[in-house]
């Protein structure tokens, strides 16, 4: 028998309190019916005796203390799952909004998931090719990894997200699909995503979840969980390699803060709840590969750093959980470099085990190290040049500066094109060949002999001779 509770005892923002409830369980879903026939759903977030605190999705507008009838569903928040999800557009709770009719679920699952037993995990080893040189060569995305993109308001991370969705692929031709969850995005951005995917004809391998900026925040808190539940189903039940793109995590965290403060919880840093780390971890840690299952879940969460501050709690805690980060840079963006990936603070922790012979190419790791090391020198030279002027730099520093410019323009700033991993690595060698062999200290002789091909530029040679002369004169 279904019990209906009439009325509420208190309403506070999206939280309502219901008294006299029997048999409620923690984290259970409830349905609230209004007198006008409309229906909203909610979740029990706290129980004290017979008193339940319920968080209402879709907001409490129109609620009064007497016009609601509440029923308990007896189970936690669930999402409908079916192979037909591919190609569909859903709302933040996983319900279709594309007008193509309901989804006939094969099964329903709890959106909270369960933690993967560390013993059952498989260490991620193979890579996903994004077609973007700066990512593929220097911060390679590995299947089962979580690699966030740290951006800022106004930078072209949406374009980058679309480009990744369009180009990303696994090299060995296994099943590949994308779950795209947009949280708190503006209406026109959502349209941009939709139309770009349709234009690129990739919609049939994408599941899209849209929670717009104007949608209730409580729904936003569920959106990534619903997306990941769908991803886990596609990956571990249907054996696909799934890439989950979550944008924008900053909106998610802000929603969580709003929710936490309305519950009257003690705030931690910058007003975010003390459990922000655990909460983010419960999302990010759902990436991975499981023993005995074919598929994998890879995540690219995108977040906009408030005020471009990488030490802000959101990027900071994210960086502690994820396996590396891709950082976008406003200066590069301003100079028209796209994608504006700042190479030095970017890192992929799992990269070393998923590249090289058998995966990409044997020279990948040393090449990446050398590019990092040389580009780090570019920064030193730039700093020096800004003090004493570029004219006064030593010839070696001048060469490094030249390399830096070419690297940013050609290698990083590839524009909206796709490169194969070979093209990317070859381009890397082409750029390194601008420098004398002796300055490449991170690659061994064998690789140098094979890949190092200096251009016979007479001007360069002359510079070298002059340098030797200059040194002798000292």
């Amino acid at each position: 028998m279904l019990l209906e509770y009439v009325g509420l005892s208190q309403i506070n923002g999206s939280l309502v309190i219901l008294d006299g409830v029997k048999n409620a369980s923690y984290d259970e879903m409830v349905v609230l019916r209004l007198d006008d026939g409309s229906q909203r759903i909610g979740r029990i977030v706290m129980i004290e005796g017979e008193k339940c605190v319920i968080q209402v999705f879709e907001g409490t507008t129109g609620f009064s203390l007497s016009n609601t009838r509440t029923t308990l569903t007896g189970h936690p928040m669930q999402v409908d799952l079916s192979p037909e999800l591919l190609g569909r557009t859903l709302d933040g709770l996983g319900r279709p909004i594309d007008g193509l009719g309901a989804i006939y679920p094969e099964c329903r699952r709890d959106v909270n998931g369960a933690p993967i037993n560390p013993v059952s995990r498989v260490y991620p080893r193979n890579y996903i090719c994004t077609g973007i040189s700066a990512i593929d060569a220097l911060t390679t995305l590995i299947r089962g990894q979580k690699l966030p993109i740290f951006s800022g308001s106004g930078m072209r991370h949406n374009e980058l997200a679309v480009q990744i969705v369009k180009q990303a692929n696994v090299s060995d031709g296994e099943d590949f699909a994308i779950v795209f969850a947009a949280m708190g995005v503006k209406n026109d951005v959502a349209d941009y995503f939709k139309s770009s995917f349709e234009a690129a004809n990739v919609m049939d391998r994408v599941v899209m979840l849209l929670n717009l900026a104007g949608d209730p925040i409580v729904e936003r808190i569920i959106t990534p969980k619903a997306a990941l539940t769908i991803a886990e189903y596609l990956a571990f039940d249907l054996g696909k390699n799934i890439l989950v793109i979550l944008t924008d995590m900053t909106s998610y965290c802000e929603a969580l803060r709003e929710f936490s403060s309305s519950k009257g919880e003690i705030p931690g840093r910058k007003g975010y709840p003390g459990y922000l780390y655990s909460d983010l971890a419960s999302l990010y840690e759902r990436a991975g590969i499981v023993k005995g299952k074919k598929g994998s879940v890879t995540q690219i969460p995108i977040l906009t750093m408030p005020n471009d501050d990488i030490t802000h709690p959101i990027p900071d805690l994210t960086g502690y959980i994820t396996e590396g980060q891709i950082v976008l840079d406003r200066n590069l963006d301003a100079t028209g470099v796209y994608p504006p990936i700042s190479v030095l603070p970017s890192l992929s922790r799992l990269m070393k085990d998923g590249i090289g012979k058998g995966y990409t190419r044997e020279d990948h790791n040393p090449l990446a190290n050398q590019l990092f090391a040389t580009y780090a020198r570019v920064q030193d030279a730039k700093a020096l040049a800004s003090v004493i002027g570029e004219e006064e730099l030593s010839p070696s520093d001048k060469r490094v500066m030249e390399f830096g410019r070419a690297f940013e323009e050609k290698f990083v700033g590839q524009g909206n094109t796709s490169r194969t991993i070979e093209e990317t690595l070859d381009l890397g060698w082409e750029l390194l060949s601008m420098l004398p062999k002796e300055e490449l200290d991170r690659v061994d002789q064998v690789l140098l002999d094979h890949y190092y091909k200096p251009k016979t530029d007479p001007k360069q040679r002359e510079l070298g001779v002059r340098r030797a002369f200059h040194n002798d004169a000292e």
Partner: protein, 585 residues
């Protein structure tokens, strides 16, 4: 007694109304699913319980069962090679029970109760057994002998012993009559509450280094066996890499690796790497001396709080057998955050940055459990603690880093700038320190070389000079420096790149003996001295550099294999010869 029933639920915190009869820190089972919990607050009419598992689905009115004892770990053979969660549930057993995803209310005995151990009983009827006495041994792994000790609260006279043979952990091997005349039985295992330090006979000064094979640690900032060290660093600076490296190569007998609120994939990596690597001392896989405690960041937060104590209790247990145990905690900040989260749920008054006011005392209690001691059995053992700290926003002034600094004597500060330049291990030589240098000097003098500490001083001095010179270089470039200062910059580069930087993936460079470390320092300093003479004679630095000696020294860590240290003499000879050539006009 009335049955105890759940009254309210808020995240991992559950309260029970009425006179409960619970005691503080008692372990309880919560709800029909029998989730593990611990009593953390008692009042006349209510008990507050923190639950170590997901509380979703619990309902008020469900029963709470008392166990009568504090949250404890089971100590006995079978701990090594295992992998546990924060409250000592074996993860491989949980995998069998609930598959790849951890279900709720799963429980499995901490030690395999069916495994049989080849036991040698040492006690004889009539023996008087005192706490800590070893009454039986068995080979736990081919590398480690497990010694069963009389629990610290038991003593008496042996009345019966079992034959040598194969037994399970719960079989009785010794019976004794205690001082009050009661009969007690000893099996292969015992229980110990995780929040109480195990007693020792006396604490001793820490005077032997924990040798790690990592040059920047062993030479620059050494840690003693029984010491405590902190590794703070922002994300991406290599905390976990450094911890893994220490766990693989340090010369402790037992490694307890606690992944506290960290990444699942990292634990998998540790698991696979440790089973593939062979311990050079025993010729067996490293897992034979290792216990992993994996409470990843998405596992319940209360168990994360307990995982640190579980880890250190296991370490103390092996110390009591006379082993040198080392515990790596990655990361203690997650543990502090778990404290903060639970404290917030209890609505306690927050102190700095929302952390509870008792954070410093909890940190102190934890780090004070490290130490070098004479165990109750009479043998010497130690517990070394190396805690990673993940400061928010890489800001070392935050409460966890600052308070950790007060209770550890070794501080290996990881630096973002070094990590960006891919200089690993990114331990910053200007901000790190070790207070053990003085205590360990005599050991280095006797066992490595009388000049070890002098060499170290001079290397440290050169690095310090470089730092101040770099201030100038950053402003005006290195071309304008006089040659003697250019020499310092060049030799410091050799020290930084050739000595401090270490490639963990290179088979020769991943572990470097103290002897090789000393020889490397000697060669570098030899080159410096010789070049100094040249520069004093007005030979331009550019000519000195063109000898190629500096670059050669940078690569010597790879070029000289660990078993051919005599090659260092060739380097010295080459330096003498090439510099000698330059001496001649």
């Amino acid at each position: 007694m009335a049955e105890n029933r759940i009254y309210s639920i808020n995240g991992p915190v559950v309260t029970v109304r009425g006179k409960t009869g619970f005691s503080m820190m008692e372990m309880v089972y919560v709800g029909k699913a029998r989730l593990v919990g611990e009593v953390i607050r008692l009042s006349e009419d209510a008990a507050t319980i923190q639950v170590y598992e997901e509380t979703g689905g619990l309902a008020p009115g469900e029963p709470v069962y008392s166990t009568g004892g504090a949250l404890a770990v089971t100590l006995g053979p079978g701990i090594l090679r295992n992998i546990y969660d924060g409250i000592q549930r074996p993860l491989p057993a949980l995998e069998e029970l609930s598959g790849a995803f951890i279900g709720r209310g799963c429980s499995a005995p901490a030690l395999d109760e069916t495994a049989r151990w080849d036991v040698t009983v040492l006690a004889k009827p009539g023996d008087r057994l005192t706490p800590g006495r070893i009454y039986a041994t068995c080979p736990e792994t081919p590398a480690i002998e497990h010694r069963c000790m009389v629990p610290p609260n038991v003593s008496g006279t042996v009345t019966w012993v079992a034959e040598n043979g194969s037994y399970t952990v719960n079989d009785t091997v010794v019976k004794l009559t205690d001082d009050r005349g009661n009969e007690r039985v000893l099996t292969l295992c015992q229980k110990w509450p995780i929040r109480i330090p195990r007693p020792v006979s006396r604490r001793m000064p820490a005077q032997r280094p924990l040798i790690t094979g990592m040059r920047v640690v062993d030479t620059m900032f050494p840690i003693a066996k029984g010491g405590a060290a902190a590794i703070p660093g922002g994300f991406g600076t290599g905390k976990t890499m450094t911890q893994h490296q220490l766990a693989k190569w340090c010369d402790a007998d037992i490694i307890i690796y606690v992944g506290c609120g960290e990444r699942g994939n990292e634990m998998t990596q540790a698991l696979t790497e440790f089973s593939e690597l062979i311990d050079p001392k025993t010729g067996r896989p490293l897992t034979d001396r290792t216990v992993l405690i994996a409470n990843t960041s998405n596992m319940p937060v209360a168990a994360r709080e307990a995982s640190i104590y579980t880890g250190i209790t296991l370490a103390e247990y092996y110390r009591d057998m006379g082993y040198h145990a080392a515990m790596m905690a990655d990361s203690t900040s997650r543990w502090a955050e778990a404290l903060r989260e639970i404290s917030g749920r209890l609505e306690e008054m927050p102190a700095d940055e929302g952390y509870p006011a008792y954070l410093p005392s909890r940190l102190a209690q934890f780090y004070e459990r490290a130490g070098y001691a004479q165990a109750l059995c009479g043998q010497e053992g130690s517990v070394t603690v190396i805690g990673a700290v993940s400061p928010q926003g890489s800001d070392f002034s935050e409460p966890v880093t600052q308070n950790t600094k007060r209770f550890t004597r070794c501080f290996w500060a990881l630096d973002k700038a070094l990590a960006y330049a891919r200089h690993y291990p990114a331990i910053n030589w200007n901000t790190s320190y070790s207070e053990y240098l003085g205590d360990l000097s005599p050991w280095y003098y006797d066992n490595v070389g009388p000049d070890f500490m002098q060499c170290r001083e001079r290397i440290a001095g050169l690095l310090l000079q470089e730092t101040s010179l770099m201030e100038i270089v950053k402003l005006i470039g290195s071309d304008v420096l006089p040659d003697d200062q250019k020499l310092i910059i060049e030799i410091a580069r050799v020290i930084r790149v050739g000595f401090l930087q270490q490639n963990f993936f290179h088979d020769q460079d991943t572990y470097v003996s103290l002897e090789k470390q000393l020889k490397m320092m000697r060669v570098i300093l030899h080159l410096y001295e010789k070049s100094q003479v040249l520069v004093a004679k007005q030979v331009p630095m550019s000519r000195v550099l063109r000898t190629g000696l500096f670059d050669k020294l940078v690569k010597m860590k790879y070029d000289i294999p660990n078993d051919h240290l005599e090659l260092f003499d060739d380097y010295t000879a080459e330096i003498d010869q090439k510099i000698g050539e330059l001496m001649r006009p």
